[in-house]
């Protein structure tokens, strides 16, 4: 099966600094991939190259087998930039209509209505962009990215301006996209969200992928927490397989055991470890 996105030996140099220093990646159909990394690590550059907004220095990117930036590739993607602005005089419905014309979508009013409903803006279809809050504009931006049945969405910090309810809406939306077979490359600093929704995570540092895998694979066991009558004990380095022996040992020693829990590192721990490790 052709990957929806493939980057091979991708580099980008701005002056003397390398924004991307050899990135290889593939995203499969229906896969939700989180792209993590500190500011300036090359996340946005990678997304912009895939969208045809920036030219790579070397290497290549293809979308569904078409070169990034080509009309066929652009017809298959949707993009929400980290910094974006829509014409303030347009209503939500007019903005989506404009993007339908640009993407030659034949979805018409039903598609616009559905997209606005999905992002929780059904009541705001006639509201001008300039009267919307930043959070509403961000949700409208996601709807705009979805115009034309895109098969791959690039969402660059899509929840940065959203309140908890808005974030929940976007999370549900991402699940919905996954169910529809749409692939998503999610660029975010909100690690907890990425951990919740993404199938796979890539950590980018100084233009290189320094860690990649499923969140559950990346998260390592870091001990076992056992609750006894005398308090909570943490056995560092122990894993799930050690629990029966640890409990048996405590019971044999006369302790009353009320519970045991395997502690795993969170994605945040993995991220910090990977980033700090690559800097040292």
């Amino acid at each position: 099966m052709t990957p929806v996105l493939r980057a091979e030996a991708l580099t980008k140099r701005y002056g003397r600094s390398w924004a991307l220093a050899g990135v290889d990646l593939e995203i499969e159909p229906g896969e939700l991939v989180g792209l993590l990394g500190p500011n300036g690590s090359g996340k946005s550059t990678l997304v912009k190259i895939a969208c045809g907004l920036v030219r790579p220095t070397s290497g290549g990117v293809s979308v569904l087998g078409y070169p990034a930036g080509s009309p066929a590739a652009l017809a298959s993607i949707g993009y929400l930039a980290e910094l974006f602005r829509f014409p303030g005089w347009l209503s939500a419905d007019e903005l989506l209509s404009l993007h339908q014309r640009l993407s030659e979508s034949e979805g018409g009013a039903p598609e616009r209505d559905e997209l606005l409903r999905l992002v929780g803006l059904a009541e705001a279809r006639d509201r001008k962009v300039e009267t919307m809050s930043k959070g509403m504009q961000q949700r409208l931006g996601i709807a705009q990215a979805m115009v034309g049945s895109a098969q791959l969405l690039f969402l660059d910090e899509p929840t940065s301006a959203l309140d908890p309810v808005g974030r929940r809406t976007v999370r549900d939306l991402l699940e919905e996209l996954r169910a529809r077979g749409v692939s998503v490359l999610l660029n975010s600093h909100l690690l907890s969200e990425v951990e919740l929704v993404c199938d796979r995570v890539l950590i980018l540092q100084r233009g290189k992928i320094i860690a990649a895998g499923r969140p559950s694979e990346l998260a390592q066991p870091r001990g076992v927490e056992i609750e006894t009558a005398t308090g909570v004990r943490v056995v560092e380095g122990a894993g799930r397989d050690d629990v029966p022996a640890l409990v048996a040992e405590l019971v044999a020693a006369g302790e009353q055991v009320y519970g045991a829990r395997v502690l795993r590192s969170s994605l945040e721990d993995v991220y910090l470890e990977a980033v700090e490790g690559s800097m040292s």
Partner: protein, 275 residues
Amino acid sequence: MQEALRRRVFVVVLVLSVGFLVLYGLGAKLAFGETNGFADRAAQTGLDSRTIAGATILGLAMFAILFLGTILVVFLTLGAVRGDAERGLLQPLLVRPVSRPALLAARFIGAAVTAGAYVALIFLGALLITRATGDYWPDRVVVPMVQLAAAVAIMAAISLLGSIWLSGTANGIAVFMVFGAGLTAGLLGQIAKALGAETLESISRTLQWALPFEALYQDALSGLTADASGVTEQIVRLGPFGGAQAAGPLLLPYAVLYVVIIGALAAAGFRRRDL
């Protein structure tokens, strides 16, 4: 266009234009009043005072119209690429199967048609005022009007080209400096011609080929008195802000070619621009 409407650009332009036409009407009435006083004596010496006054003040109006049209077109285009990209307006449009040159062409056509229509409208207004206040009607109307609109279209192309690399403010400054350079070239040409300074005339001619909006303006001025002759012709040829100078039939095709070349350069630059 809609952004210009929202920002009340057109309201400001309309108010200023009406103000300009009212002041122009007053000035034309005064000028014709003054010249009518010695029209008979002038006629005895072979001077057509009405043509001199009419062509001169209409020429002044044309300069003002060119300037106002340039301001309008520059403000419609100065941030078309880099400015809009920095504001995040451009990227959502470019991540669609629409080519960058097509987007640029749309911006050019929008700006050139808007400013061209504006220039034509104000020119016609000034023409009617001149007729009403001094009973003067120029020898040519349509060609000078088209040439003014074409001059403004050239400014739109130059401004769009600059917008690929320059920020809005820097591009605005650059385009007005180019505009000033073109006008200065025209003035220098007139001075050089009067003094017989060939080198200066050559420099002026080169600059006018490089910036043909000035040649279009001078040819448009020349069209006002295309049928004048004798002393009257000599006087009106001196004209205000760069004299009237017929440019020949190749100027308009050259202007079209010029816009195409500038457009091609802009398209090539835009294609290579990282956003």
